[in-house]
Amino acid sequence: MNARLINWFKFSSPATFYPLAGKMVPIFTLLAVVLIGVGLYMSFFVAPTDYKQGEGYRIIFVHVPAAWMSMFIYLIMAFWAGLGLVFNTRLSGMMTRALAPTGAIFAFLALWTGAFWGKPMWGTWWVWDARLTSELILLFLYLGYLALQGSIDDTRRADRAGALLVLVGVVNIPIIYYSVQWWNTLHQGATISMDNGSKMGVTMLWTMLIMALGFWAYTIAVALARVRSIILEREADTTWVSELAEVRR
């Protein structure tokens, strides 16, 4: 038990993590390319046309995985943030920071594709639906984190302040989601419901899962690549960085 604990902390040192991340990036890039390639093939050629929504429903294969990832990434950020505040490891703050832009991109994509789905299905680009509204607030939370990180020059303070903000956000997300849902049911007349009417076929579910896995691999690859740049920037003065092959060149 004790040996394993030490082992984990060894990887939390930026100097050990940097080369490890470098080895993992190509693996996850390959995984992402393959999974997203298969997912795209399935979403256009294998998944059957929906009898109600025609071809337009194919947006679901990018919309739902993007929405899942945007929420999942925030949870992972909260995990790293908590770890960073408790154990005071430098790497945790860097991981939180490295995940945030990708999470914001997925939140934006979920909103964007949601709008492109809503227009043909419901006739408007935007509906104040509970899920859409919560996703918008999630995007705001990401942007707030990035703005806070960007305006603090001292990296230690930036990491810890950011971590606290992420944790406050993650506690608030259920409250926000619940209140938005309540607000929505109170205000929504007999207009539109989010239910698609059609039951999800097995092929559709698989396609969505494969796309989500592809996005997941993409997130890991991108976050690890970004954390490598962050490590280099922050550890620029150390000996191990100056001895790296890519620096000595």
Partner: protein, 57 residues
């Protein structure tokens, strides 16, 4: 199914390609920007390292 039919998406072309296109665009731009950022960071650091090495000599 012909190619034109495929791209028409049963009349939903704008919506389907609008969402898939923008997603693809962002997911391609992000790695490219990361790569260029990494390159500039490496350049900056190796310049500093070289300057330090010259100072020692």
């Amino acid at each position: 199914m012909s190619v034109a039919e495929f791209f028409d998406m049963g009349g939903y072309a704008l919506y389907v390609w609008g969402s898939f296109g923008v997603s693809a665009l962002l997911m391609i731009i992000e790695p490219i920007m990361l790569r260029s950022h990494r390159r500039s960071v490496l350049q900056r650091i190796s310049r500093i390292v070289r300057m330090k090495a010259e100072e020692k000599v």
